[in-house]
Amino acid sequence: MATFIRDLKRPRGEDPGVGQVDGQADPIPFYMAAGEQKQKSKGGGGGDGDGEKGEAGQKLADKGEELKEEMDELLEEIDAVLEENAEEFVKNYVQRGGE
């Protein structure tokens, strides 16, 4: 039992954005269900300083193209998971009031 309630040690004084937990029991892989697990860095940009202007411009264009492709992929992925018969589906989504 003692191990089960192991302490959650989050460094309180630090930047809360980077807090980490240790002493974890096996976490349930909640997000393992769907497709790929790729992490994409947003916005990125920023040349690496070497190379000439033309090269940098080309890099930027390539980057733009890459971002567009990523976006297209995302939109296709969404289209693939979107419920079929949307019209019927949203019509049937009826709730009773709550609270």
């Binding site: 959650l8 807090g19 909640f30 997000y31 947003k42 949307a86 949203v90 009031g97």
Partner: protein
């Protein structure tokens, strides 16, 4: 001095069953809540003795019938979890009330833990349904047909602060905070005011400024006076005006900033008069104005935009905090809020990885442009609904999160931990640990009490009227040396 922050949220989820024409929402909810099994799992009653939802903060008791289910129904509808949460059937919705927490970061962790518990329940419930029939759950607030269900925030407040002093600044604050914490909605449910898209899920449903109701004639400030704590010392502000947010960043600000404003109210730090002429009309107008440029009429006849009103609150907050030491989370909340307010003044769409209504709008617009759709298309409405879908493989918010397209505040590990562990710094610790350690002996639970059924058939109730006692600091050692609930009671000297 303002009292320390103690807060929590109650999230009601929307449900539907695919391919079942005889779908009954209440029995489906009972199935969902009971499909969730914890180890250990006791048959525990929710203790309605202490409840009084008809007490009004303005100082009177409303006539009406108090609902108390029989024992069997009680157990079927209520679960108290070892993380200190209450998970139950509320009318026709499964509802998750997270345990009491002391800061916005823990609030995000525990609200998100609720999303996972809901999804685990849904899968378990589905395994009991016939082939082809599938239950689906949505963390949103409207069916787009005029029916709404809530995401309520609760904040502990000092009873010495007169309620009138609480209400005055909250009306303009709550009518306009949706510009940074709205969850976004396709279309309008206000017949006379159609729109393509609006900031908030809930804004169409508010009809009055201040009242006790939550289901009809909804008020911007709710007066339910049920502190679930020492009522001489505390009130619980029950906030019903908010949306069910998916974005961690938005949840973090929603609760973190609101808690800060409430501390300012307690400390008399509201120095600007931001009273609106018509808050009820304002809340709808703000929600329907995507440009954030709409001029609202103030009580003194001048005009301001919603953003200017929020800037007013920010100015007051910066002045208030300049002479106080904030903890790391409060500092971070304030900084992020300031950045968001500044960004809204520049271009709201820059917040497309942070604020729900912007994330959703960006996603829908990109999809519309690629597929050549307009706002009235059923697919667009589907995108709105599916943004809130509880399934990690189908929910569009989760899809964006998996792809690193939304900014996070907490880690998956922390959320998983919170599924099975209460916060350590509120009375939720005592509640959760008693359930973990003495499942067979816990008889009934409420927010401010826990009772044990002992071998001699007596029932002993322990009151927990101080939300910041029963913490690990106060009770862990006591629990460690108490093998049984009987020993615990003996060690407590009862």
């Amino acid at each position: 001095m303002a009292i320390p922050t103690v807060m929590g949220t109650e999230v009601e989820y929307g449900i539907m069953v695919k391919n079942d024409p005889d779908f009954d929402p209440i029995s489906s909810c009972v199935l969902i809540v009971n499909a969730y099994r914890e180890e250990p799992d006791g048959q525990i009653l929710w203790d309605y003795d202490q409840e009084n939802p008809l007490a009004d903060a303005r100082g009177f008791q409303v006539e009406g019938e108090k609902y108390t289910p029989n024992q069997q129904e009680n157990i079927a509808r209520n679960k108290t979890l070892i993380n200190g949460a209450r998970y139950y059937v509320d009318h026709a919705h499964p509802e998750y009330s997270c345990p009491e927490v002391t800061n916005a970061r823990d609030l995000v962790i525990h609200e998100k833990a609720g999303e996972r518990i809901i999804e685990v329940s849904r899968r378990e419930a589905n395994s009991l349904l016939p082939d082809g029939v599938q239950m689906l759950i949505y963390k949103n607030n409207s069916d787009r047909k005029g029916n709404s269900y809530g995401c309520h925030e609760n904040y502990l407040m000092d009873r010495r602060t007169p309620f009138k002093k609480v209400v005055e600044p909250l009306l303009p604050f709550f009518s306009t905070r949706q510009i940074w914490c709205g969850a976004g909605k396709v279309g309008s449910e206000s017949r006379n005011h159609p729109c393509d898209y609006q900031l908030s899920q809930r804004a169409d449903f508010f009809e009055t400024e201040v009242a006790l109701d939550t289901m009809v004639k909804r008020p911007i400030v709710n007066t339910r006076d049920e502190p679930h704590a020492d009522r001489e010392k505390y009130r619980r502000l029950h906030v019903i005006v908010g949306d069910s947010n998916m974005s961690e960043y938005t949840i973090y600000l929603r609760n973190g900033v609101t808690a800060l404003i409430l501390s300012m109210i307690e400390d008399g730090a509201i120095s600007q008069d931001l009273t609106l002429r018509d808050p009820v009309r304002t809340i709808r107008e703000v929600s329907h104005d995507l440009s954030l440029k709409h001029e609202l009429t103030m009580d003194d006849g001048t005009t301001r935009t919603a953003l200017q009103i929020q800037e007013g609150f920010l100015e007051m907050a910066l002045a208030y905090t300049s002479s106080r030491s904030l903890d790391a989370v409060q500092k971070d909340v304030l900084q992020k809020w300031q950045e968001v307010i500044e960004t809204l003044g520049r271009d709201p769409m820059e917040l497309d990885s942070k604020i729900d209504w912007v994330i959703k709008k960006r996603l829908i617009e990109r999809f519309m442009s690629r597929k050549n759709l307009d706002w009235g298309d059923a697919k667009v409405q589907m995108l709105d609904l599916q943004y809130h879908d509880s399934r990690p493989e189908k929910g569009l918010y989760y899809l964006l999160e998996r792809q690193g397209r939304v900014e996070r505040i907490v880690t998956d590990e922390e959320i998983e931990h919170a599924v099975y562990n209460p916060p350590r710094d509120t009375r939720a610790f005592f509640r959760g640990e008693c359930l973990r350690r003495y499942p067979g002996e816990v008889f009934g639970v409420n927010w401010d009490s826990i009772s044990f059924g002992l071998e001699d058939e007596s029932i002993k109730r322990i009151m927990m009227s101080e939300p910041l006692k029963g913490t690990s600091e106060f009770v862990e050692e006591l629990l460690e040396r108490s093998e049984t609930a009987a020993a615990l009671l003996e060690n407590m000297g009862s």
